[in-house]
């Protein structure tokens, strides 16, 4: 199947439609909530939580013996929350720093989860196959009810986010001020964190434990480059996330042997790279262009100023000088000279140059302007 087939089949084929909708919704909700994680400098929390969810899945299976997705995800949610609040406990109550706490919870919970999974695999009742799909996720196992669950959770997230928008925003940028205004910061904080955990848990089935953190971060990091407004960023992150989901599914469906999770992550990473390079405000490309332009302006001004100092020593400001004497300093290039001539600041005559009246005026004012700017 190639990409064209995919797009013609996506609305008619049940499996493709389900997976595409599922990954799109997942991308949107993780992008939305990921924006908060990124801005709160909790980027790696997602990684820790998704790993910490694994023992919950295994325990839920051990207790109920059923492979019902909702039960397993409930287990994942509980153990993800336990992990999150333990991380917080470690950071606030002991000397350990947040990176150590994250790494600890991530690896220890994951290790415990693996212990349980291998333990389950050795059990005689052979109903356990498929639990390891949560490691890397298998979008192909999504069914319509899963997608409905995602859609409902996304809807709740949206409603809560709109209801508490002001509080979320305040807490994000100025927690102390939020507290002095009398908001219950602890409650808002727990609310955001719980929703982040919820979004991660939802994604486990599709993208898997290991790659879930990228779903949270990449769309948000990409969106951050295009705007300075929180609302726009959340919206853009949701769009980027949804498109990563759709494109990722399309690419993985059109090739053999490609699991959806890693492809979605790669697509999301491409969004990030594109944003890093091409965003007009912060992007590397435009930053470099601005940098070069500023340097040019500076060289231009330097040349003009140098000429002004030479011209100052002569009675006739338009007394011609050789271009060679400009070589004494580094700002001069043939281009800047040409530019000066184009602006009618100097007149060129073979190997000689002379400052015009206009050029002299501008050069004199150049200093005044700069001087004023510094004040």
């Amino acid at each position: 199947m190639n990409l064209q087939d995919y797009f013609s089949l996506v609305f008619s084929d049940y499996t493709l439609r389900t997976i595409t909708f599922g990954t799109a919704i997942l991308g949107a909700v993780t992008g939305m909530l990921g924006s908060f994680a990124v801005l709160r400098k909790q980027s790696l929390l997602g990684d820790a939580i998704s790993h910490a969810a694994l023992p919950g899945i295994a325990l839920a299976f051990l207790i109920t013996g059923a492979k019902d997705t909702n039960t397993l995800l409930l287990g994942a949610l509980v153990s993800g929350l336990v992990g999150t609040f333990w991380i917080r406990g470690i950071v606030t109550k002991t000397h350990l720093k947040s990176d150590t706490a994250l790494g600890l919870i991530l690896s220890l919970f994951f290790g415990f989860g693996m212990l349980l999974l291998t333990f389950i695999q050795k059990q005689p009742n052979a109903n356990q196959a498929g639990l390891d799909k949560y490691l890397f996720g298998q979008a192909a196992t999504l069914v319509e009810s899963d997608v409905w669950l995602m859609a409902i959770v996304t809807g709740i997230c949206l409603i809560v986010m709109l209801l508490f928008w002001k509080e979320f925003k305040l807490l994000l940028f100025d927690p102390d001020y939020t507290k002095t205004l009398g908001f219950n910061t602890k409650f808002i904080d727990i609310l955001i964190t719980t929703f982040i955990v919820l979004a991660i848990v939802l994604g486990l089935q599709t993208v898997g434990v290991v790659l879930m953190s990228a779903m949270l971060l990449a769309p948000a990091a990409a969106a951050r480059q295009w705007t300075n407004s929180l609302g726009t960023m959340v919206f853009l992150a949701a769009i980027f996330g949804a498109f990563s989901g759709v494109f990722g599914t399309a690419i993985s469906a059109s090739q053999d042997n490609l699991s959806t999770g890693p492809v979605i992550v790669i697509v999301a990473s491409v969004f990030v790279i594109f944003s890093f390079v091409f965003s007009p405000g912060r992007g590397l490309l435009f930053r470099q262009i601005r940098f070069i332009k500023n340097r040019r302006d500076l060289e231009f001004q330097k040349t003009l100023a140098f000429m002004y100092h030479i011209a100052e020593t002569h009675e006739d400001i338009s007394h011609p000088h050789t271009i060679k004497i400009l070589n004494n300093f580094q700002g001069f290039t043939r281009k800047t000279l040409q530019k000066l001539a184009d602006k009618n600041y100097v007149t060129l005559d073979g190997a000689m140059w002379s400052l015009t009246e206009e050029g002299f005026e501008t050069a004199a004012n150049l200093y005044n302007q700069n001087f004023k700017k510094h004040e």
């Binding site: 980027s43 790696l44 991530l106 290790g111 415990f112 490691l135 490609l258 699991s259 990030v272």
Partner: protein, 386 residues
């Protein structure tokens, strides 16, 4: 205990020691998550190395994979330097991308490659004794034992040779730069060593457990001591303890050795987290509670000193006016009485000479903004602490 069992425990212990040493420095330098990033992003390096060498234990493969780890670190730093995102976001962006590339490479070449992603994440220590190294027809032990042994030797040699430099650059990068040891060289040296250790260890124990073995023992040790040498020693001890006890738990449950080592480390960490003297949860909470009561006591004494009128010094006044609960006022009163700070006469509280002296000194410290001195003062005055 059979020969294979002994070998597995030996390998696990060596891996634990080899991980604990760089792990200690990573934890101290607040770079613990870098080890997670490295352990994931070596995957593409491993796959490429495996294409070339067809052998998971070949030195070339280890070097290639370690190189990928170092590239990851450089990439993270580059992204961070652009200022577009924070450091943690940079880490979180790079390693899933690298890992995804690795997974896709494996999936696309599933037929030619005997490398399973599960095996990469979890390793299979139980099979390690079966892959043996033979030189000239004689069996000299499992390959992974040799690999990790050599890495451990190199780590220990580097640790002894550069201990002073590592110590200075970890605790005071500015000083180390001014003394002439480049913090950059030490930083990349440590990163390279961590990468090599991760690659060497992951074959036996898997990518995630490497992180557990690097961070958990060092974190436990960090809560127990403030001395670098002791911390290294404790980290090694906890690592080896986790490895060996983990092996036996896995043996008993018939489950993944890597997972159960991580679980044992988790249990150890949980105990240390709760019970570590002075830095553990219980010690911290106890100290906080004591400080709260002592602050209340001080407030109460200040109140007494400020008011000479009897109604302000009545015991019931505590409950009504200062708005303290009964239990709290009783604790504070008892503490003050035990320390001979106050006298209660007919339910009227008054300061003793000692209490008066204590309060005056405390006021002095408070108005000169030297609140920390109060802690020393308490040692001098208090017979009983809160």
């Amino acid at each position: 205990m059979s020969n294979a069992q002994l070998e597995i425990q030996l390998i696990a212990s060596l891996v634990a020691v080899a991980c604990a040493i760089p792990g200690t420095f990573l934890v101290l330098r607040k770079m613990a998550m870098i080890s997670d990033a490295i352990s994931h992003s070596i995957l593409p390096g491993l796959v490429v190395g495996f294409f070339i060498t067809q052998d998971l234990n070949s030195p070339l493969l280890i070097l290639l994979a370690a190189l990928t780890g170092v590239i990851t670190v450089i990439l993270v730093e580059r992204i961070q330097k652009t200022g577009l995102v924070k450091e943690d976001t940079a880490i979180g962006l790079v390693f899933p991308a690298m890992f995804s590339i690795g997974v896709i490479m494996i999936a696309k070449n599933a037929n030619d490659i005997h490398l399973d992603v599960d095996a990469v994440l979890l390793g299979e220590l139980a099979f390690a004794p079966f892959d043996r190294l033979t030189i000239g027809g004689t069996d000299i032990g499992p390959k992974s034992l040799w690999v990790i042994g050599i890495i451990l030797l190199a780590t220990v040699a580097l640790l002894i040779a550069f201990f002073k430099e590592l110590k200075v650059s970890t605790f005071d990068p500015g000083l180390s730069a001014s003394l002439g040891f480049s913090p950059v060289v030490i930083h990349y040296g440590l990163m390279t060593m961590s990468s090599i250790t991760t690659v060497g260890a992951f074959d036996a124990v898997g990518a995630i457990l490497v992180v557990a073995l690097m961070i958990a023992p060092a974190a436990c040790a960090y809560l127990l001591t403030t001395d670098l040498k002791k911390m290294l020693g404790l980290a090694i001890f906890f690592g080896v303890f986790g490895a060996i006890s983990g092996y036996w738990v896995a043996h008993w449950l018939d489950a993944s050795i890597a997972g159960s080592i991580a679980t044992m480390l988790g249990v150890v960490f949980f105990l240390v987290y709760l019970f570590a003297p002075s830095k553990g949860l219980i010690a911290v909470m106890y100290r906080e509670k004591r400080q709260r009561i002592e602050v209340s006591l001080l407030t109460f004494l200040l109140h007494l000193k400020n008011h000479s009128e009897e109604e302000e010094r009545h015991v019931n006044h505590l409950n009504e006016h200062i708005n303290w609960q009964k239990v709290k006022s009783k604790t504070v009163l008892d503490l003050a009485l035990k320390n001979n700070m106050i006298l209660i006469n007919n339910k009227i509280v008054s300061l003793t000479k000692k209490g008066d002296e204590f309060t005056s000194q405390a006021i002095d410290y408070i108005i000169t903004n030297e609140d920390t001195q109060i802690e020393d003062m308490k040692k001098h005055f208090f017979l009983f602490r809160g």
